[in-house]
């Protein structure tokens, strides 16, 4: 059989057209496969944020109270290594001049001497840690703004630790398991040697309809958590009625943890 060049081109054209229909068939063919959905009981928000009322913490809380820290570290199996150099922390306390550097003067520093400030990951709107991560192990969740870590992808390069201006990230220099002093929470994984870790705004608890562990643990209500996109949320109400500060605003990271001092 002889085919003219013209005929050959015609048939090729029709075949190519047929191929373009394949993706369409795929879309319709897939619709009833098993799927993953959001937990129905999950707390949902578009822009999670926290307000830390330090006044309440100091005035109503017991001296040296560490309820929020203990609750967080127990829930997430955070080890207590016992040395500052290798310390692992998700939420911790620090002095005013370290939490708000550049905003101190000789009087306020005096007033605030010995007063602990609560610090944690700021879940920045513009997070430098996410920008520098070479594997996208740390990423900003598009739906609610949580800066998450995918521990499976972390290669331990620690660029994120260099990038974070708040010291919110810790590196596992050694196997953390022997140093977990609290009772192991069997529902949450530990980490392993060679990965970085930090606060995850309790993504796993939000998915079950629970508030973050630190917020729940604070008996004086100094920690508030909510959705900035919702004008009726606790955090929006607090922000509307109080003067608040954020850490290192000059860096443009747009932290989502606010302080009432």
């Amino acid at each position: 059989m002889e085919t003219s060049r013209r005929n050959f081109l015609k048939i090729s054209g029709v075949c190519a057209l047929g191929l373009t229909a394949l993706p369409v068939a795929d879309v319709f063919g897939e619709s009833d496969l098993p799927k993953a959905i959001k937990n129905p009981q999950a707390l949902t928000g578009q822009h999670w944020a926290m307000v830390v009322d330090m006044k309440k913490c100091w005035e109503k809380g017991k001296e040296g109270c560490k309820d929020c820290i203990l609750a967080c570290h127990a829930v997430h199996n955070v080890p207590d290594i016992g040395s500052i150099k290798e310390e692992i922390k998700w939420i911790w306390t620090n002095h005013y001049e370290n939490v708000f550097p550049g905003q101190e003067n000789e009087y306020n520093v005096k007033n605030l001497e010995g007063r602990p400030f609560i610090a944690l990951c700021n879940h920045c709107t513009n997070p430098p840690c996410v920008r520098v991560c070479p594997t996208q192990a740390t990423f900003k969740r598009p739906e609610d703004g949580i800066v998450m870590m995918d521990f499976h992808r972390c290669i331990g390069c620690r660029y994120c630790m260099a990038g974070c201006p708040y010291g919110a990230r810790s590196f596992n220099w050694r196997d953390p398991r022997p140093f977990i002093k609290t009772e192991l929470n069997m529902r949450f994984p530990t980490r392993e040697r060679g990965v970085v870790e930090k606060c995850n705004f309790c993504a796993e608890r939000l998915a079950e309809g629970l508030l973050p562990a630190c917020v729940e643990a604070c008996k004086v209500g100094a920690l508030s958590f909510g959705d900035l996109a919702d004008p009726n949320s606790v955090v929006r109400k607090l922000l509307a009625s109080h003067f608040t500060m954020r850490r290192k605003p000059e860096l443009g990271t747009q932290p989502n943890v606010y302080y009432i001092v």
Binding site: I37, K38, M148, F151, R187
Partner: protein
């Protein structure tokens, strides 16, 4: 045709072939028993219809892909509920769902993995972080 030093060459060859096939000699006559994953955990024994998240043939060959999907959905997409083909829902969790039913890791997962020659038999890089169920055996 003549081979120079034929004797040495042939002896050398014989030794080489012998050494090269040592793995075969070493394992000869030793039948490795096929894996026997046990399903006799308390949770599974209480089930009226004993079935896994996927049909048996699919879970047997595809559980690593399923775990990979679960991990992506949970950690990266924020979705935590899995709707199976039969409409049943599961909390997508290695530690809390798979291992609730298969709480006998050493008698179940490890049985196959050791047989299949996965490293140390235990998929070690999951259990350095995920907490394996406590077993009393």
């Amino acid at each position: 045709m003549k081979i120079y030093d034929a004797r040495y060459v042939l002896i050398g060859l014989a030794i080489f072939v012998g050494l090269f096939t040592i793995p075969f000699w070493y394992n000869m006559g030793r039948a490795v028993p096929p894996p026997d994953p046990k399903l006799d955990t308390p949770v599974i024994q209480q089930m009226a219809v004993k079935q896994c998240v996927l049909p048996l043939a699919e879970i047997r060959t595809g559980h690593m892909q399923l775990l990979n999907d679960w991990r992506t959905w949970v950690v990266r997409d924020g979705l935590r509920t899995y709707v199976a083909a039969d409409g049943k829902t599961y909390n997508m969790s290695l530690q809390n769902t798979c291992m609730d039913c298969h709480s006998n890791k050493t008698q179940f997962c490890d049985q196959c993995h050791i047989y299949a020659g996965l490293e140390a038999g235990t998929v070690p890089y999951c259990w350095t972080c995920h907490i394996a169920p406590k077993e009393n055996q």
